[in-house]
Structure formats: structure tokens, C-alpha cells
């Protein structure tokens, strides 16, 4: 039981992390290498809010949504849109946007290192146990699980049941035809970067609630998110949930019963198994 909740929390976090990236990469077709460092920046934001300003992480969570959306939207509109215009969304855009977001990653990483240094940070919040069917579960893990599931559901419904979501999927499937249907791919891309930013901010705040974090973990989070995105199938929200849970449970089980040092090996092991069976990911489309 306890193992199940640990797996659910970690899996939920991975799924959440991947959802923002799968939208940005799948729809706007830009791989945002600064993704991981934004997650860590949000975690530090929640830390400062809790420890120095006395703001509850739950309140921070609510504020992080519009703030993250605004930052993501601005990132696309100010930094990436000029590149999209210049390259006319051609192959050169891949290289230019990789370099731009890679550079941005170093800028933010440098700033965070300068302010906070390289140590691990954590705070205690809702760490008392709640008993579910007689099993003690830390309350903050329940928050993580609930938030991850709620956001997954929200994004899934938004993508599959709304007019705007349909337009987002149209851009993902075929940007050239989307234009013919009267959809502005750039507005949709900016929107998707905003939603990705909101997801990043929420992920960061959630991480700060139950895991010790440091600046150096940014790359790990980027890599895990990328792993889950590719495993789940690019652009698929349900794929993120399934692949995220697979990794979360895989890691938890191996760390508990074999050795915590094997988690990365488990990640890539699962990755290879899934991709050898389904090369386009669990819910991936072969184009």
C-alpha cells in the first residue's frame, strides 16, 4: 500500500512534468531545453514563498498557474517567435530554437546558482501521515497525486472536448492544413507554451513539497520529462499519464527491493522495452 502511494506520487509527478513538454514539443514543434531549469526555478519560488514570506505552498500553487502561463507565453512570443519568423518554421528553426533555449537554461541556472548556491533545499509541509485503509501516507504525497490527476484530467478534457483543444490538435497533426482552416498556428503555439509554463510552475511547486531539490537536478527533470514524452507518444496527454506512471512505479519498486542506484537504469530499460514494441510511443501515431 505504502509502495503504491509512493509510486503514484512519483508517477503523477513524471506525468505532469511530461505533459507541459509534450504540448510544447508536439504542437509548437520546439524542444524547450530550458524546461527543467524552469521547474527548479518554480521549486525555489515556492521555497522562498514558504520559508521567507510564510506563504503556504497551496497558495503558491494557485499563484503559480497564471504566473507560469504568462512566463511560458512570453518565452514563445518574445524569444522564440522571432526565430519562427526568421526561419519561416523551416528546418533551421530546430537548431536556432535548441540553441536559444539551451542558452536560456544557462542564464537561469547561473542566476539560481548565484542566489541559492548548489546545495539541496527542502522544507517541511504537510509531512504528517494520513491513514488510508490503515496505511500511513504523508499528506503532501496525497496533494501531489491529486494535483497531478486533476491537471491530467483537465488537460485531457481540454484537448479532446473543446473547440480550442481541437484547434491545438489540428496544429499538432498538420500545421499547413490548420492555416487553411483559419487557425493561426502561432497564436496556438504561444498558448501552448503558456499552458506548458503553467504545468512547469505547478510541477516545481509540487516537487518542493515532497522532494529535496537543487539547481543540478534541472537536467534530470528535463531528461525524465523527455523520456516520458517519447515513451507516451508525442503530443498525447494520456500517453504521458501511462508512461509517467510506468516510470514512477518502476523506479519505486526497484529502489525499494533492489537498489536505489538502479533507478536511471530502470528508466532507460523501460524506455527501450516500450519503444521496441511501439516505436512511436504508447499512444503515438505513425505519420
Amino acid at each position: 500500500m505504502e509502495l503504491m502511494f509512493a509510486g503514484l506520487a512519483l508517477g503523477g509527478l513524471y506525468a505532469l512534468l511530461a505533459m507541459g513538454l509534450t504540448l510544447q514539443y508536439g504542437v509548437a514543434r520546439i524542444l524547450n531545453l530550458a524546461y527543467g531549469i524552469f521547474v527548479i526555478a518554480a521549486a525555489f519560488g515556492a521555497y522562498v514563498a514558504k520559508v521567507q514570506l510564510g506563504i503556504s505552498p497551496i497558495v503558491a500553487l494557485l499563484f503559480s498557474l497564471p504566473l507560469g502561463f504568462g512566463l511560458g507565453w512570453a518565452l514563445y512570443s518574445l524569444l522564440l517567435l522571432p526565430l519562427v519568423r526568421r526561419t519561416r518554421a523551416g528546418p533551421q528553426l530546430d537548431i536556432d530554437s535548441l540553441l536559444a533555449t539551451f542558452g536560456l537554461m544557462f542564464v537561469i541556472e547561473g542566476a539560481l546558482l548565484w542566489i541559492f548556491g548548489g546545495n539541496f533545499y527542502s522544507y517541511s509541509y504537510l509531512s504528517h501521515p494520513v491513514y488510508i485503509a490503515g496505511t500511513p501516507v504523508e499528506a503532501n504525497r496525497l496533494v501531489v497525486i491529486l494535483v497531478a490527476l486533476a491537471l491530467t484530467l483537465l488537460l485531457h478534457v481540454g484537448m479532446n472536448r473543446t473547440r480550442l483543444g481541437l484547434a491545438v490538435r489540428a496544429v499538432e497533426v498538420d500545421p499547413a492544413t490548420a492555416v487553411l482552416a483559419g487557425i493561426d498556428a502561432r497564436t496556438i503555439s504561444a498558448l501552448v507554451f503558456g499552458v506548458g509554463g503553467a504545468v512547469v510552475a505547478v510541477s516545481g511547486v509540487i516537487i518542493s513539497m515532497f522532494l529535496p531539490f537543487s539547481v543540478s537536478m534541472a537536467t534530470e527533470f528535463l531528461m525524465k520529462a523527455l523520456l516520458v514524452v517519447v515513451m507516451g507518444g508525442l503530443g498525447s496527454i494520456s500517453g504521458c499519464l501511462l508512461a509517467g506512471m510506468t516510470l514512477g512505479f518502476g523506479e519505486t519498486i526497484v529502489a525499494r527491493f533492489i537498489d536505489p542506484g538502479l533507478t536511471l537504469a530502470v528508466n532507460f530499460g523501460l524506455f527501450i522495452v516500450v519503444l521496441s514494441v511501439r516505436p512511436a510511443g504508447i499512444f503515438g501515431r505513425t505519420v
Binding site: A170, L180, A181
Partner: protein, 236 residues
């Protein structure tokens, strides 16, 4: 309604279209005739805003100056386009494709009317609304593509090689539907390799040679010309 003049397209040094002048009204089918590379597709793409054209062109749809609009705004202004090679969202369902076609129009009452119109034109689609478009035949995909374009409620519909790759039976069905679309009030401008079939439903035609419109007029005047018939309609 659609009023074009001075429309030129160049790719580097190559002039694909030079100073094109044409007109399409509501309710008529106009065919663009010409050999490969004559500039037919460039003309269609320029009108839809998909290729850049030399500045100074005059493209008006009614009172709207289309040269000032971005490609995605041109649809909303009343000019819809089905490019060569379909223009459908392959992994989405028929219903989703049609819904997306109406993205630029937000009027729900008219949405229902148009949806009914499209399904009346292409009754085959009615049974397949949930089917993913990429699993359908070429003829059915072309119906979805045209249906998608009609969902925006266009004044003028541009079709680039709609019968390409279709069986003779599917082509006949398609051309009959195109005639009905025009009779219901939409102007159709189409590029067609299959000149003989398209002339059967067309009102007027333009002939393009090396990027220039060299002849225009009623289809009957084209059919009277033996040289033209041999060159573009095959046989005599």
C-alpha cells in the same frame, strides 16, 4: 466577387506567374487550364496567401482587400482553399475535420446549416463521421477536404486538382458535387488536369502558358477551338 489583377509570383529568378488578371463570381465554376508548370498552382497558392507574391498585386473579395490579410485570416474573409494532395487532418475524424473547417466562423446556427449542406452534398460522409480520415479512400478524403473548406461558408472556393488520383466513377461524383456547390451560390475556381470532365460542369475558363494568362472566356469558345482541344482536352 473575387477580383484579381497584377498578380505575379517568382521563385528566385524563375517567374511562375506574371501579371495575372482574373475574376470569379458567385455561382460559377471557372477552370484554370494549362500545362504542368504553367503557373496554375502558384496562382491558387498566391490567392490563398500560401506563397509570397510580388507587391503591388490587387486581390479583392467584394470589399475586402485580401493582400492585407494573413493566410489564416483569408479563410474567414470568405476564400477557402483545398490544396493539391487534399488538405485534411488525417488522424482526426471526419466530424473533427468538418468542425475545424468552421473554426473561423463562430455562428452556431449557420454551423448546423453548413454541416447539413455538406452531408447533403456528400451523403457517404454521414455514416462515417467518427472514422479517422486517413483510413478512407482517396475520393472520400477529397469529399472531406471540400466539406472542410465549405464549413467556413466561403464566397469563393479554390480547388487544386481535386480529381487527382481518383477513379473515373469517383471523379464523376466529385464534379457533380462541385457543380451543385456553385449552383448553391459559391464561386468555384479550380485547376484541373481532367479538362474534358471539368469543362462539362464549368462556365468559364482561363488558359495559362508559361505563367501568363493567354486566353479566357466561356467554355464553349474553348470547345470551338480545334488546336486547343487537341492540346488540352486530348483527341478531337
Amino acid at each position: 466577387m473575387l477580383d484579381v489583377s497584377g498578380l505575379s509570383v517568382s521563385y528566385g529568378m524563375h517567374v511562375a506567374l506574371a501579371e495575372a488578371v482574373l475574376k470569379v463570381d458567385r455561382g460559377e465554376v471557372v477552370v484554370l487550364l494549362g500545362a504542368n508548370g504553367a503557373g496554375k498552382s502558384s496562382l491558387i497558392k498566391a490567392l490563398a496567401g500560401l506563397v509570397r507574391y510580388v507587391t503591388g498585386a490587387h486581390i479583392r473579395l467584394g470589399a475586402t482587400d485580401l493582400t492585407r490579410l494573413a493566410p489564416h485570416q483569408i479563410v474567414g474573409a470568405g476564400l477557402a482553399c483545398v490544396p493539391e494532395g487534399r488538405g485534411v487532418f488525417g488522424s482526426l475524424s471526419v466530424r473533427e475535420n468538418l468542425t475545424l473547417g468552421a473554426y473561423s466562423a463562430t455562428d452556431h446556427v449557420r454551423f448546423r446549416d453548413r454541416n447539413e449542406l455538406v452531408l447533403a452534398l456528400f451523403p457517404k460522409l454521414k455514416m462515417r463521421l467518427r472514422q479517422s480520415v486517413q483510413t478512407m479512400s482517396g475520393g472520400e478524403q477529397q469529399m472531406v477536404a471540400i466539406g472542410r473548406a465549405l464549413m467556413s461558408g466561403p464566397v469563393i472556393l479554390l480547388l487544386d486538382e481535386p480529381s487527382l488520383g481518383l477513379s473515373p466513377a469517383a471523379s464523376d461524383e466529385l464534379f457533380a458535387a462541385i457543380r451543385r456547390i456553385a449552383d448553391l451560390g459559391t464561386g468555384v475556381l479550380m485547376v484541373e488536369q481532367n479538362a474534358r470532365r471539368s469543362f462539362a460542369i464549368a462556365d468559364r475558363a482561363y488558359l495559362l502558358e508559361n505563367g501568363a494568362i493567354v486566353r479566357s472566356g466561356n467554355v464553349n469558345t474553348f470547345l470551338d477551338d480545334r488546336v486547343l482541344i487537341r492540346a488540352y482536352l486530348g483527341g478531337d
